[in-house]
Amino acid sequence: MTWRPRLAEGTAPALLFLLLLLIGLAIVGPAYSEPAGYLALLKRAAPLMILAIGQYLVIVSGGFDLSVGALVTAGVVIAARLIDGNNSATAWVIPLVLGFGLLVGLVNGLITTKLLVPSFIVTLGMLLVLDGATFLWTGGAPRGALSEGFRMFGRGSADVPVLGAVPWSVLILLAILVAAVLFMRGGTGRALVAVGDNEATVRLAGGQVDRLRLLAFTLSGLLAAVAAILLGGFAGVSAQVGNGLEFRAITAVVLGGVLLGGGRGSVVAAAAGALSLEALFTLLNLLGVSGALKSAVQGVIIIVAVAYASLGGGVRQRLRLWPKPRDSVRSAQPASS
């Protein structure tokens, strides 16, 4: 018997879509004929991919985390203000930013599980709270500056044997991705997917539903803080850095074939979805399409991907112009069947 990679359900189409985009990039952009171009793309996509991994954990367990964009902004603004250009402060500000993300995720999770508020509402509220608090604290414009040491993670490269200079953000991304895959293949990860699929069953089987959900939100918050460090490093201080990131992360996860509502999808596909999204935008830029259409593209992707997910394998029959008699009987049923 030959060895075949174990791919979770839904991973293959996401990877294929990504492959097509990468081929497109190689044709359009001369920089993509060599590895450096792809490394640069990965570097740029790393924050979104990390956010998508966090978002995946929450979505697959049946929730939403809308607070990650605001959390990224808050993380960058807090870091800038605390560091204020002073390199020696970097060492304690980074753990502080990570701790802040962890805390926000924990609060999201506690309110969702203990007070039984839908996560959509909790995290939407958290988004507004963080936005407002950031605005109040900064008076509308960020102050301070990030140090070179802080920016290194998003901007600099490390010398890796064999490969040469690899951006720090790519190394961090790979570490997180490997950890996430191992986690999802372990017992806790499987239980997390099961919670999204059928909460009652997990509860009856003796699973700790609340604890699993709490873990998902906490990890999402932590990963958002990591993304904040990378994004702040990549581009510097800005109060707009996290704008719309939560929706880009959700789009990426959906593009990766993960079912909104939970219970289905793989973390590799979610990360691939994020990379696809970034590759798609890069491709559009390279083709000379204005950035103004980006959000329209994002909307189309969400709708098509969700429609595809809910139709599942029956797509071909449903799209057929002249359905066979048995198909016409089937199409009389509700679309959610």
Partner: protein, 391 residues
């Protein structure tokens, strides 16, 4: 399996097709240089353009070294009917917002200016937080508050016009600054020379520094804002009359990460960019970093007077220019209000000088101890207490 990914592929293809069918008119790759097909912006106004460009070299009236008290080509009006020589003034200010570093520096400067004048006993400020409806009600409540004079920095032009007219009708002297309104009822309207001069400063610099046929990337914040549209209209006009090729016009939303990505993509697509024009300098540092990270020399670039850019300029010996929309204009409304309340003449339209920072004088504007987003042209260095409140 085939079913599954065929749909994903179709989705991608649809998205691509949907996008490529709606190309913007002026940045398609392979187009002839835009000088051939430049379309005049609807915001372009030849008379106003000529007036602003002439103002740049005109000699202002007023005290030397205090540009916030200077005026260009003033048409003075009498204010005797507003005179209240007894002092003890209540100055009121309806502010559009304090939601960006430019407004923050400006507002801080204005507060310090108020402290310089003991005649002002109360300074009442209402912040509209960037909302038209809030500013309309702010102005209404100020007219009912016994203000000696009302200063207004309108959030948007058209929507705020009726509210400003109402304030004028209350008989209190009204002073408008920064963005304008469509009425001449305020006693004075204070503003620097304007967007055309700002855009032209950068474009002329590139025309001079970039070799003929060079590719220029134009980065704009967002479309539809008249001040920013004027800047682009002027630059577009100058590029059209030059040998330069506008390789692309992109909107950055003022987002540093987006700016950096756009510049990197253009570098990949074109192989080389010979100049960068920007309608506002807040993301200039990100644009420069994109060149640095790609390992190529930074071409001539247009920024603004924020400290982070000025420091980078000096440290890296960039070829750059910084047109400014000076924050010292926030001092002038307070000065104007006091002039009016003392019955002194003020210009109907108070046009302030709008200096630009060049390679020759940039070093004198770098202030190492100030925050990176501080605007150098604040005219605040001589004020008591500097630099504390601005930090």
């Amino acid at each position: 399996m085939t079913k599954r990914w065929s749909v994903v592929v179709v989705a991608g293809a649809l998205a691509l097709a949907g996008c490529s069918s709606d190309l913007p008119t002026d940045n398609t790759p392979g187009d002839p240089p835009s000088s051939a097909d430049a379309v005049k912006s609807e915001f372009f106004d030849q008379a106003e353009y000529d007036r602003q460009l002439a103002f740049r070299t005109a000699t202002p009236q007023g005290p030397d070294g205090k540009p916030w008290e200077q005026m260009l080509d003033p048409e003075l009006v009498d204010t005797a009917k507003f005179a209240k020589p007894d002092g003890n003034y209540t100055l009121c200010f309806s502010n559009a917002a304090v939601n960006n570093p430019w407004r923050q520096v400006g507002y801080q400067t204005m507060q310090e200016e108020v402290k310089l004048h003991s005649e002002i006993s109360t300074f009442t400020v209402l912040d509209a937080e960037g909302k038209d409806d809030k500013q309309i009600s702010d102005i209404q409540s100020l007219t009912a508050k016994n203000c000696s004079a009302i200063i207004i920095s309108p959030n948007t032009t058209a929507t705020l016009t009726p509210a400003v007219e109402q304030a004028c009708a209350s008989g209190v002297p009204v002073i408008v600054f920064d963005r304008g309104v469509n009425t001449d009822c305020p006693v004075t309207f204070i503003h620097p020379i304007g967007g055309f001069a700002f855009g032209a400063d950068g474009a002329e610099f590139l025309k001079e520094k970039v070799k003929p046929g060079g590719k220029v990337l134009a980065l704009r914040i967002l479309p539809g804002v008249d001040v920013l549209e004027q800047r682009w209209a002027a630059a577009n006009e100058i590029f059209a009359g030059s040998e330069l090729e506008v390789a692309g016009v992109e909107f950055t939303d003022g987002d540093a990460a987006k700016t950096k990505s756009i510049v990197s993509d253009y570098l990949q697509r074109l192989g080389q960019i010979d100049g960068v024009w920007m309608d506002a300098g807040a993301t200039a540092v990100a644009a420069v970093e994109a060149f640095q990270d790609a390992g190529v020399a930074v071409p001539p670039v247009v920024g603004e007077d924020q400290q982070d850019f000025l420091r980078l300029w000096v440290d890296e010996s960039l070829t750059a220019v910084a047109p400014t929309y000076p924050t010292y204009q926030w001092r002038t409304p307070v000065i104007a209000a006091l002039k009016i309340l003392k019955g002194e003449q003020v210009p109907k339209e108070w046009v302030l000088p709008q200096p630009r920072i060049t390679g020759d004088n940039v070093a004198s504007y770098v202030k190492q101890d100030m925050p990176p987003l501080h605007y150098a042209m604040c005219g605040c260095e001589e004020m008591p207490g500097y630099p504390g409140p601005w930090k």
